[in-house]
């Protein structure tokens, strides 16, 4: 497996931001995002303030900026969409570098890019400074329904297992001379995805059986078996240092 310590999104550290209680960070992220989304996209300077806040938090967390930047690739599809908008939107046109672009489209693209980027950076910062299990404990403390937290817990636990299974299936496919180079190969990939789905489903059943075998009766007793809760005292109860403002 050769998996390193911690999750791929997590950057190990002991900064103020790392030590801040997870529920505070989650709540801050949520408030920050609501404020950003509610901000009119024409208030250009305000976005500068948001960015400055984020940069300050990242600096305080001592996570290398490049670490965050590399993980921003998830935003690429949105960037592509945003870049297309000025071309496809209708309405009054302006000339930029010899291209005729829609004014509304430009503004919409800016809004999407600015808000999207702020959201992605803020979320990545949360992920980089919070261990997945602390995040779950934080959600629990925020009174997120138990079932949802459990589902997230299972997701985190089995993400690596399923990814590894997917990788093994790909390796096995490629060992038999297959590689998905063109659209014509997609049916094979789709069938693999189907097989992976069934395998995961069956694994879910086996996990359930194993849980039943250890006396699981349908209710996870809070406090004792909640992911992250048993251990909350020794490792995660950091001094509740005050985090500045409403950002994550």
């Amino acid at each position: 497996m050769g998996a390193g310590h911690g999750h791929k999104l997590h950057y190990h550290g002991h900064s103020v931001v790392h030590r801040a209680p997870a529920h505070l960070k989650v709540a801050s992220l949520l408030v920050f995002m609501l404020v950003v989304v509610a901000t009119s996209r024409t208030w250009f300077p305000v976005f500068g303030v948001y960015l400055a806040l984020l940069v300050a938090v990242i600096a305080a967390s001592k996570v290398p900026p490049l670490y965050i930047v590399k993980r921003m690739v998830v935003e690429v599809p949105f960037v592509v969409f945003a870049l297309l908008m000025p071309f496809v939107a209708t309405g009054p046109r302006v000339d930029v570098l010899g291209l005729s672009l829609a004014e509304d489209g430009l503004l919409a693209a800016w809004g999407l890019l600015a808000k999207g980027t702020l959201g992605v950076v803020a979320s990545l910062t949360l992920a980089a400074t919070t261990e997945p299990r602390d995040l779950l404990a934080g959600l629990e403390r925020l009174r997120v329904p138990h079932q949802l937290v459990q589902i997230l817990g299972f997701m985190i636990r089995y993400l690596d297992v399923v990814t590894e299974e997917m990788r093994r299936m790909r390796v096995a496919r490629e060992s038999r001379g297959f590689s998905a180079r063109s659209v014509r190969h997609w049916p094979v990939v789709a069938r693999s995805a189907g097989a992976l789905f069934i395998r995961s489903y069956e694994r879910g059943e086996r996990v359930h059986l194993a849980m039943l075998s250890r006396g699981y009766t349908g209710s996870l007793t809070p406090g004792a078996t909640t992911p992250g809760a048993t251990n909350a005292t020794p490792t995660t109860a950091a001094p509740s240092s005050t985090t500045p403002g409403n950002h994550a």
Binding site: M1, A3, H5, P132, R133, L136, G153, F154, I156, R157, Y158, D160, V161, R203, R206, V207, L209, A210, M211, L212, S213, R214, G215, Y216, T217, T221, G223, A224, T225, P227, G228, T230, N231, T235
Partner: protein, 252 residues
């Protein structure tokens, strides 16, 4: 003799799709025994195991654990008494940390606080994994995960430990370490396995299940050296392994 820990009588079972897996199985395991359950693929071994703690309900016949019949009302107590370690530790370990996972079973039994903490530590200590309590299971090696899976069941202080293919996918060192752990446990063991040398090493007694019935039950040495029996039920010793050259009861 006293009440057997495991008392299976005339157990028959057919899956909902009509496929019948067990045709009247009789099996008695007494306290402190280590028994290997052998048999080819599809013999019904896993089906039998799932009856032992009431995951599957007997179509005919009965299963009792230390005198307690495996029925709906008793299922919680039966699952405490029968600890099953499944073949794939990834199926068994689902919590974000080893500690939480080992705590899962005893917490379901109602343990809390200090008592729970102590139970977890003892179980991890028995398999030599105390130092890994705070690690996520998916960052452990396969052998370590198998050991933690054993600990998750030991934490429930079962009367019988049922292991499904305990040596599968283990490297020889992990395999030996697990054998040492199992030998050191003061608990009755039923081990489902294809690994005949492992059965010979650990279990003085073997039961052979084939096509849903018990076809042999006796000393492991006698079973493994009965060539007619072995070949009739698709059991084969690995190349170079001959119990005769090792001599009879070595396991203790």
């Amino acid at each position: 003799m006293s009440t057997p820990v495991l008392d299976v009588r005339g157990l028959a079972y057919a899956y909902p799709d009509g496929h019948q897996a067990l045709f009247g199985v009789d099996l008695h395991v007494h306290r402190g025994e280590r028994v290997a359950l052998l048999g080819p693929n599809g013999a019904g071994k896993t089906t039998l195991v799932l009856h032992l703690n009431g995951i599957l309900a007997a179509g005919a016949g009965s299963v009792s654990v230390s005198g307690l019949p495996v029925t709906k009302p008793n299922v919680q107590e039966v699952r405490r008494r029968v600890g099953i370690v499944f073949q794939d530790p990834d199926d068994q370990l689902f919590m974000p940390s080893v500690r939480d996972d080992v705590a899962f079973g005893p917490a379901n039994l109602g343990l809390r606080g200090e008592a729970l903490e102590r139970r977890v530590r003892e179980a991890l200590d028995k398999v030599g994994m105390v130092d890994f309590a705070d690690r996520p299971p998916h960052h452990l090696s396969f052998g370590q995960r198998r050991r933690v899976a054993v600990a998750t069941v030991l934490a429930m202080e079962p009367e019988i430990l049922v292991l499904d293919e305990p040596s599968s996918n283990l490297d020889p060192a992990s395999r030996r370490e697990l054998a040492e752990i199992l030998r050191g446990l003061d608990v009755t063991v039923l081990m489902v396995t294809h690994d005949l040398p492992y059965a010979f090493e650990l279990c003085p007694r073997s039961v052979v299940l084939s096509d849903g019935v018990v076809v042999a039950d006796g000393a492991t040495y006698d079973v493994l050296t009965d060539d007619a029996l072995m070949s009739a039920h698709r059991l084969e010793l690995p190349f170079g392994f001959d119990p005769r050259t090792i001599g009879s009861p070595s396991a203790g």
